[in-house]
């Protein structure tokens, strides 16, 4: 019954000691990833441009600034009413780009889902979406700012592009998970493509679509803040940029940061709630 005694199963390392690692592909790839990232990190720190940096001074100054920001927040260049109005603009930008993005993404996702569309259309949409996603949102906004003229249109269109790309990926994956049997059953009854979409695809994925859309809204809120600061899109982000870059008013920066933080936390809690309720087993991505 026993395998005859042989040490042949024992593997030795080059130094003659017994190896205990299984040494499979997974382990090798993880190790290689780690080593490469470690090496690149070292390289990064060596190649950084440290010009004009006095680290001790910078750190103590930042600590002081953070203290002023978070312990003595106050408004000085504009009123509370105006502050809420600016937050409203940021939320508005985020909301518009999300809701328009969701509607457009829905149709594109129908075209991108392999179980609903033909192979070539699906491939084309996917490649297009991958390209759009790879361009950072701020570049879209800046490009539209020249192409379409400044104003909220540029900001919304720029953010819209990225939102569409993000949601098409999420939506089409949700569509593809719809049970094949349901589609087959409907087709068998003679339902056409639109019937299938409205009576099978939409009802069975609606909650997913909703949570993904809300998640994107959460992301778009911080994107809208960023666009205000970096691309002049207005809203609370622009005020933040002015307070820190123009007036150097740390108290105001602090107050604005608090407002953004509180809103972001509320949005995050809501989307976590939605997510754990509707699809507990998917990643945050």
């Amino acid at each position: 019954m026993e395998v005859t005694s042989t040490p042949i199963y024992i593997r030795k390392k080059s130094n003659g000691r017994i190896s205990i690692k299984s040494g499979n592909k997974v382990e090798r790839v993880m190790k290689a990833t780690g080593i490469v990232l470690f090496g690149l990190t070292i390289l990064a720190f060596m190649s950084f441009n440290y010009s004009g940096l006095d680290l001790t001074k910078a750190i103590s100054e930042t600590a002081y600034n953070l203290k002023t920001m978070f312990l003595e927040p106050a408004l000085s260049h504009f009123t509370w009413g105006e502050a809420f109005y600016q937050v409203g603009i940021t939320l508005g930008l985020a909301f518009l780009s999300t809701i328009l993005g969701a509607v457009i993404a829905f149709f594109l996702a129908l075209m991108a889902a392999t179980n609903l569309s033909n192979k070539w259309i699906s491939k084309t949409v996917r490649i297009l979406v991958a390209f759009v996603r790879a361009v950072p949102t701020v570049l879209w906004v800046l490009i539209f700012a020249i192409a379409a003229g400044l104003g909220s249109e540029a900001a919304v269109l720029g953010m819209l592009f990225h939102s569409i790309a993000y949601l098409v990926k999420a939506f089409s994956e949700a569509f593809e998970e719809v049970d094949k049997g349901i589609l087959e059953a409907l087709t068998a009854t003679g339902a056409n493509w639109w019937h299938t979409v409205t009576h099978a695809i939409l009802p069975s994925t609606f909650t997913y679509l909703l949570s993904w859309t809300f998640l994107r809204f959460e992301i778009n809120f911080s994107v809208a803040v960023a666009m205000g600061a970096a691309a002049g899109a207005g809203g609370i982000g622009f005020e933040l940029f002015m307070a820190s870059g123009f007036y150097f008013d740390m108290r105001e920066v602090g107050l604005i940061t608090y407002m953004i933080l509180i809103l972001a936390i509320v949005l995050e809690l809501t989307s976590t709630r939605l997510k754990s309720r509707y699809f507990p087993a998917t990643s945050v991505k």
Binding site: M30, A44, A147, L157, S244, A264
Partner: protein, 262 residues
């Protein structure tokens, strides 16, 4: 009868939901001065402009070495921010997870740090740090570091919570110490998931680094801003293309690694 009531209720829910969305959309367009008709109307012009201006000429290609250098700086910065944040996030993650946490107080502390770091947008961090660190790579690095710390800590807490408890119990029964258990029973189970998150973070950071670069005057964001402001749109196209290619390449590599390890 009951079914009819339910169907009616469903119908009303849908109507209310749709109304809320429409009202919010209207309010949003009002507050932001966004005109959807105008928005759509500008699209054709915008695309014509993009097609007729954003292309790469022979002359712009001469700037390629300079652009690639900046791109490399940005990519390296993103990687460094992610890897260093990983180290700290790992400890915060272990503290914050129900499985491996040792005290409720430390756990709450870890989750608080992560939440603040994550929910204050990277731009805000960049602006705050810019004041004392000045325009150099370290500012951008730190801003990305803080954002990554927040995101990765949350992701790690989730991964650790998902890992099976059974091996932890077995190791505890052999008399292993806390760190032996963490290192030999918890980490090996979550490692693939964690690596996947790290790769995702690097992808995200490269995109954010462009934005941060515009503000802090470093990396590829600076190049973009420079050409953008000097109206050199061919160079803008080249910069954009170089970012797209590097992001897509990184995504392909990450997906390949994920396929093997997950």
């Amino acid at each position: 009868m009951n079914e009819k009531v339910m169907r009616n209720q469903r119908k009303w829910q849908t109507i209310i939901f749709a109304t809320i969305i429409i009202v919010l959309t209207y309010l949003s367009s009002d507050i932001t001065n966004f005109n959807i008709i105008h928005g759509i109307a500008t699209l054709p012009n915008a695309f014509t402009w993009i097609v007729s201006n954003l292309f790469i000429t022979q002359e712009t290609l001469e700037r390629l070495p300079k652009i690639l250098e900046k791109l490399a700086e940005t990519i390296l910065m993103s990687i460094a921010a992610t890897t260093t944040a990983t180290v700290f996030s790992l400890f915060l993650g272990l503290m914050g997870s129900k499985t491996t946490g040792t005290s409720n107080l430390l756990g709450a502390f870890a989750r608080f740090i992560a939440s603040v770091a994550r929910n204050i947008p990277v731009v805000a961090w960049a602006l705050i740090l810019l004041l004392s660190f000045g325009q150099n790579s370290v500012t951008g690095y730190l801003a990305l570091f803080v954002g990554s710390l927040g995101f990765l800590t949350r992701a790690f807490i989730e991964s650790i919570d998902e890992a099976s408890q059974s091996a932890v119990e077995a190791l505890r029964a052999t008399g292993a110490t806390y760190f032996q258990i963490v290192y030999k029973a918890v980490i090996p189970q979550c490692l693939p998931q964690m690596i996947s998150w790290i790769l995702f973070m690097i992808e995200t950071n490269i995109r954010s680094a462009t934005l941060v670069g515009i503000l802090t005057g470093t990396g590829i964001g600076y190049s973009f801003d420079l050409y953008y402001k000097t109206l050199n749109y061919h160079a803008v196209a080249l910069v954009t293309l170089s970012i797209v290619i590097s992001v897509i390449m990184l995504e392909l590599i990450s997906n390949h690694i994920r396929k093997v390890i997950l």
